[in-house]
Subunit: 232 residues, 2 copies
Amino acid sequence: MTETAISSCRAFVFDAYGTLFDVGSAIKRCQESLGDEAEKLSELWRRKQLEYSWLRSLMGDFTDFWTVTGDALDYSMAAIGKNDPVLRSRLMETYLSLDTFPEVVETLQTLKNNGHKLAILSNGARHMLISAAKSSGILSLFDEILCVDELRTYKPHPSVYKMAADKLELDASEISFQSSNGWDIAGAGHFGFKTAWINRAAQPVERLSHRADVILARLDEILPLTIKPQTA
Amino acid sequence: MTETAISSCRAFVFDAYGTLFDVGSAIKRCQESLGDEAEKLSELWRRKQLEYSWLRSLMGDFTDFWTVTGDALDYSMAAIGKNDPVLRSRLMETYLSLDTFPEVVETLQTLKNNGHKLAILSNGARHMLISAAKSSGILSLFDEILCVDELRTYKPHPSVYKMAADKLELDASEISFQSSNGWDIAGAGHFGFKTAWINRAAQPVERLSHRADVILARLDEILPLTIKPQTA
């Protein structure tokens, strides 16, 4: 039973971008400068950001996520024929104060009140994560903010998920991992986490070898699947 | 001088899909069944095929390229709401007899006549590459058909490019690598090959750390940059 699998978990680990933080909110704040191109830029920026993180990991040519995010933006602005250094700076800065999705704060607060350990496990650079979490008021809810800065490789490399299990001092099977990214769910499941895919955009299932234990439309749908751990 | 770099190369190694073979030709043969969705399916199929090859390499969950190609097609057909097993089979079969781009045969023939070693270095499974190369009449022009079946990881992992240098018994710097994929050029350049990016679609430069030595619009534009090796 997949729901039972999640209810027995002792820690809830969250992907950041697209799962807690609405990466589309970066573009929305610069909508007036982008007009009809806003959606295309938003989609391409995110896609290239992921591609560059995977490609650099695979090539053995790591660079931090702030640089990757800027490189992806440069490619995407070039692709829509936009050369505007001021707009570029504004878009990059929005990444440091992204909006959370509406249900995020209350979901995290409830899980914490129920005695669960909470962590972020993200490809983001530490300064990016701390800044966005502080700006949206969720930083204090987490026991750990886990990033790949020292590992020098990105998800879905198994070493990234292993770092979370090691830092939380839990077996992989005791951790429920939440992500809106199907590929991240596949990587986490392959490593051994229980997984909840927050499929906000109702996308097709990724054809990778590990499927999510549960598929939810919003993050708060995980609450009925969790139970408060018994105290001794 | 980048052109001099290529003129001193002793072997020419080619990516297959998108470089020698027109992957769009797969969809064109099934255009009547797809109508307006043809272009979207073609673009998404290719994108997911690449993503799955990178993700599986990074996760340490390799499967052969025929399976990856089928998985990517399944995702893409689901994304456009198409459930048609006969069409799926027809699309997969076209991968075994893809068209080459118009200038490919003559370019390869000229390089071979001038005494250069030629090889394919592709993520494709051996049976896929042999079938497509045989069907388009270019198989006999190559000294080596190099695929990742034994390495169990995909480009741009450095071990794939290293395999080519090892099999050709050449130093990386003596090899000119041709690909239409900017990320593949970055991986090959990072390993140490000389690189020619065949940028057929006039795409923006990928923001990865290695840039191409030359950027060409068609494969035959490499011929003026090559010289016939001197015999002893």
